[in-house]
Symmetry: C2
Subunit: 318 residues, 2 copies
């Protein structure tokens, strides 16, 4: 894409980033997206260090295009993970869920481009101060973890675009070319797309989870567990159990105990649609098919261009 | 605006509707917006029938352009209100908060154009079945009352646009020309703008409330009282009292009792920033000045055109 700050920063054809989602974003998905002209990201959040190294090596074997890794900064073996990323010469790292100051300079000194994911203007400014190369601003409608301010993509993007100088990607609610065009109209330079890439054959998620995304209609997701870290979930039995617990004025320990361990893996990777935690975006209501990742990119690009052309005729008398 | 279904339906210059908000939208605001080329709406929800008649007559005296009235269908003297609207030959009625079947045909037989405000695909389809002329779809970020699904403008608009044939206006989070362009990219034909028009000299709201909108930053509003009818409020003392009550597992009667009567008038019209209920949209974080309503329209139009021109250059290789 000509004169686009995200395409130029990452040296990619289209300013479309595939989110590095836990239990979905392995080397098959990242490779497919990067080969299609977007930027594929590995989701380190659900990988042991050795597993991540394997996925990085497979990605390098599968594409000669740029790719990256998403690292949640709350990861327990963070130092080991970062050592592997630097040793393997990963070109791009997206950090999330933590303080961007902790690793930005270390990664940049290793020649790695660094992006931080935020859900508020306040943290976008902190990321800019920390020296990142670009920011992802993620709205309330996004899947997974989310901000306490509950700012939606429509209100967040123009406020962040006004506040920072850096290239900006919009996330949350974007699954189509029209969504991409709307994000650009609001001031974004590119988009990060999550849910739409889970419903692809290349995502490592369980087929039950992919089918649940296709079947999800409006109101099928809900942002909950705000006392721990707000997370958007499909409304399944596990979600209902959480809501039932809320009627009993639970402590945060009660909530942690119900959440327990490995709930996300059980749901998204092992396909337990009742007892598992199913993190997904509100835009799943618009997703009605499982299609290859390269097709997702191609469809977004062609719909973007079609919608852009349509706007050419929507003149207004000034 | 050429070839635009909303401009054509209402016979207005720009597809920009000023929301008929309680305690804000009297004849001064509606007249200013209609004279500026948008569509001004009176907010009947906070008017006694005689007061509405007065505002309709003043609006007719103040503009020869189309205007309308917003009627919440939960209004207690609804029949009397509708009789006045028909007798005064109001050209356009926006209905909200109720079943569109109850009055759509009566109004249409009187030659009135009817629009219904919804927050879900489900109710957009019901409105279409009821025979309305157009639909407003309002996202989670909107001020005032809101849907239980919590669908944001970014996810709601493409889903409604896909589901219905009727002209569609987007609402929630829109205060600028860029927001308008983004809404059009997502599939809307026009926009309904609320919060931005409260912060104008012509709005009948108290100056304290207008100043509070200007001062509001990100995270300043919150959707609450979901057990009654979900409503987005500024986080003032009254809002905090509601949150404090929530920690005590309140019944809906407890909530109703705290809400009491005339809280909205106390806040938005009388300017009591502590004890009053202050309904406003999340986009207030982006609003930083009180400007005349005609200027709001002119700024939106010129920013829309500027942003549209910028997109003309954002080609992508297909």
């Amino acid at each position: 894409m000509s004169n686009n700050r995200i395409s130029e920063l990452f040296n990619i054809k289209y300013p479309i980033v595939q989110g590095g989602m836990i239990w979905a974003s392995g080397h098959k998905l990242a490779t497919a997206v990067s080969n299609a002209g977007g930027l594929g990201l590995l989701g380190a959040g659900s990988m042991y260090p050795d597993v991540l190294r394997h996925h990085i090596q497979q990605t390098k074997a599968g594409t000669d295009k740029p790719y990256g890794v998403n690292v949640p900064l709350l990861y327990s073996d963070l130092e080991e993970l970062m050592e592997i990323i630097i040793a393997e010469q990963v070109p791009i790292v997206f950090t999330s869920a933590g303080n961007p100051k902790t690793y930005t300079q270390t990664l940049k000194e290793a020649g790695i481009k660094v992006v931080h994911v935020v859900s508020s203007v306040k943290f976008a400014l902190k990321a800019q101060e920390a020296g990142v190369d670009a920011v992802v601003a993620e709205g309330f409608e996004a899947g997974g973890h989310n901000g306490r301010e509950e700012s939606t993509t429509f209100t967040l993007i123009p406020q962040v675009a006004k506040a920072i100088e850096l290239p900006l990607m919009a996330a949350g609610g974007i699954a189509t070319g029209r969504g991409m065009l709307a994000a650009m109209a609001l001031g974004a330079d590119g988009v990060q797309v999550g849910s739409r890439f889970v419903a692809t054959p290349e995502a490592s998620s369980h087929i039950n989870f992919k089918n649940a995304i296709v079947e999800a209609g409006e109101g099928a997701t809900h942002l909950t567990l705000k006392e721990l870290a707000p997370v958007r979930l499909l409304r399944n039995k596990f979600w209902q159990d959480v809501q039932d617990l809320y009627t009993k004025s639970p402590t945060t320990d009660d909530l942690k105990s119900l959440l327990g361990r490995a709930r996300a893996k059980k749901g998204m990777f092992e396909g337990d649609m009742n007892e598992g935690e199913l993190e997904i975006g509100q835009i799943s209501g618009l997703i009605d098919s499982i299609v290859p990742a390269a097709q997702v990119v191609a469809d977004m690009v062609s719909e973007y261009e079609q919608a852009r052309q349509a706007l050419l005729n929507m003149t207004i008398d000034v």
